[in-house]
């Protein structure tokens, strides 16, 4: 009898501890700060444009087998992996290009809300950028369940269920991080990445490999290009007053 009470007592203690510590990760999104005036004269702004090229033979896209969820089989419009998006001219898409260093002053978070959509059991966009404090709305457009699981290193990890079509979840990121991965543990093939920056000077290359970072104050910058499989490359570039600097990166396998 004594043992029984002891067990009951111990179990209750552990339960209470678990309840007290559980679910602590749901910090409410902070209200975006008032947009401040840019720290430079917009009339002097310049651009960095260029292209990301892929050299050699890109690994072929693979077919994704979605059989583990019949809804996905029905809803999917895109069933090929998108690790390597290589255009006809050899341009490489889905590369995150951003100003890594050289900026001065601070930049207010953008007030518009970005959307990460779960549709056809894929994420759109696959690679994108966001500013610290900017709202990301995660939408489940599928008539099946998704869990949206972010696995950052510098920001709090979160994992939320979206069992019902049309559900949304708003999130912000507090710290700069290249890149925050997203995955769905229900559908193991779903993955996406967001680059979190404290400024608005970033872009993602299109399927032709082209990108354009505009509105930059004149100065000398370190530009980094990130690809999910091929890693990063950096180059230094100087933007003249009102000018356009051109920079190209070439990635290859191996």
């Amino acid at each position: 009898m004594q043992h029984r009470t002891l067990w009951a007592f111990a179990s209750i203690l552990v339960l209470a501890a678990a309840a007290a510590c559980g679910g602590g990760s749901d910090a409410p999104a902070e209200a975006p700060a008032e947009p401040a005036a840019p720290a430079f004269d917009p009339a002097t702004a310049g651009n960095v444009t260029g292209s990301i090229m892929f050299e050699g033979e890109a690994p072929a896209a693979e077919m994704i087998r979605m059989n583990s969820d019949p809804v996905c089989v029905k809803e999917a419009t895109d069933t090929e992996t998108d690790y390597y998006v290589v255009g006809d001219g050899g341009g490489l898409g889905n590369v995150f290009v951003y100003v890594k260093s050289g900026l001065e002053g601070s930049f207010p978070p953008a007030s518009d809300t970005l959307i990460l959509d779960q549709k056809g059991c894929r994420y759109t966009p696959h690679v994108f950028g966001i500013q610290v404090g900017q709202t990301l709305q995660i939408v489940n457009s599928d008539p099946t369940l998704h869990n949206i699981h972010a696995t950052p290193a510098n920001n709090p990890e979160f994992n939320a269920g979206q069992p019902i079509q049309g559900m949304t979840l708003d999130r912000t990121f507090d710290n700069v991080e290249i890149m925050v991965p997203f995955k769905c543990d229900v559908h193991g093939w779903m993955n996406a990445y967001v680059g979190v920056l404290d400024h608005p000077f970033f872009a993602v290359s299109g399927s032709d490999g082209a990108f354009d970072i505009s509105g930059l104050p004149p100065g000398t910058y370190e530009i980094e290009a990130w690809h999910e499989e091929l890693g990063t490359q950096t180059q230094s570039v100087t933007v003249a007053e009102g000018g356009t600097a051109d920079v190209s990166f070439t990635f290859s396998v191996g």
Binding site: R4, W7, V14, A18, G23, N147, G161, D185, H187, G188
Partner: protein
């Protein structure tokens, strides 16, 4: 009669627990541990009302594992209560409560690991306790068996100290090896050494990292376990060939160990094929439980109920009531 049914029930719980270990192993092998983000609910539904049609993708494994775990939890409550009512030996009744405590703690660890995104220490604890729980149920099966009560028809205490020691050492070594396996599994070191039997083409890895170290330790551990298990089994087979209650688990143990090593190697060579990897988890539990059965039976005469039982065995004239 009632005792026989109790014993049969324990066997049934043991089979259910083995199925549960396999289901849990499949959760980890498929990487589905976080496909249900909440606990104790599932996507806001209570565990029981979550529609089966929504058990898609990883949820099939994770939610299925929770359902099987709940069933085993209920079966374990039944076991503890049955023992409390029908079992005369107090220490066996206590083991029933211990099993119930283990399954409750195990459920909590499972929930906590989900809420905190599978932190390695919690997941390793969950894995480690799972194998202990299964072995405890199997031990209860031995303790409630008719053979145990008859002391396997023996009256004189065995004097083979070497066997006693080796039989204890074997499950301890196997369990240490299981814990090494769990650390490797939950720190993502399962393929840190991609070839087998060599390591990067060498006997000893030419370069080291934490992952390579833990992986290599599991291989060295397998060699050590093999030596100990062979020593224990050959002792039983060579010196006690007439005692089938020892030779049978000894032979089974050797067979399961060889199978387990094969599955371990295959896990590496197949790049962690889900089925092979999961079978390696389940077979690990079977190796541990079999070693524990051998240990219990070898030590039979040292248990508090030995004198009484050997009296019933009908050989000793000088046995006390």
């Amino acid at each position: 009669m009632g005792r026989l049914w109790l014993h049969r029930y324990v066997r049934f719980v043991a089979v259910a627990a083995a199925i549960l270990i396999t289901a849990g192993g499949a959760v980890t092998s498929t990487g589905s541990g976080l496909s249900v983000p909440d606990w104790p609910n599932t996507y806001g539904y209570s565990m029981i009302t979550f529609p089966p049609s929504m058990m898609v993708g990883g949820i099939f494994y994770e939610h299925g594992h929770r359902l099987i775990a709940t069933t085993v939890g209920l079966l374990t409550i039944g076991l503890a209560v049955w023992l409390a009512r029908a079992e005369p030996r107090e220490w066996v009744r206590r083991l029933g409560w211990l099993a119930l405590g283990a399954v409750v703690l195990q459920g909590l660890l499972g929930g906590i690991t989900v809420l905190y995104f599978l932190p390695a220490p919690v997941s390793i604890g969950h894995a480690g306790l799972a194998h202990l729980f299964f072995t405890l149920i199997v031990c209860l099966g031995v303790l409630t068996s008719p053979g145990w009560r008859r002391s396997y028809g023996r009256s004189e205490p065995p004097e083979d100290r070497t066997l006693l020691r080796l039989a204890l050492l074997a499950p301890a070594a196997v369990y240490a090896q299981i814990l090494l396996g769990a650390v490797m599994r939950h720190t993502g070191a399962g393929l840190a050494i991609p070839d087998f039997p060599l390591a990067f083409g060498h006997l000893v890895p030419p370069s080291w990292s934490a992952a390579i170290g833990i992986h290599f330790a599991h291989r060295v551990g397998a060699a050590v376990v093999t030596v100990i298990v062979f020593a224990a089994a050959s002792r039983a087979l060579a010196h006690h060939w007439a005692r089938t209650e020892l030779t049978r688990p000894a032979m089974l143990l050797v067979g399961l160990l060889l199978l387990q090593i094969g599955l371990g190697a295959w896990t590496v060579l197949s790049g962690k094929h889900v089925t092979v990897n999961t079978a390696h988890v389940t077979a690990g539990s079977l190796v541990l439980a079999t070693a524990a059965v051998l240990a219990l039976r070898a030590h039979r005469s040292r248990f508090p109920d030995a004198a009484e039982a050997s009296g019933r065995a009908g050989t000793g004239a000088e046995v006390l009531p």
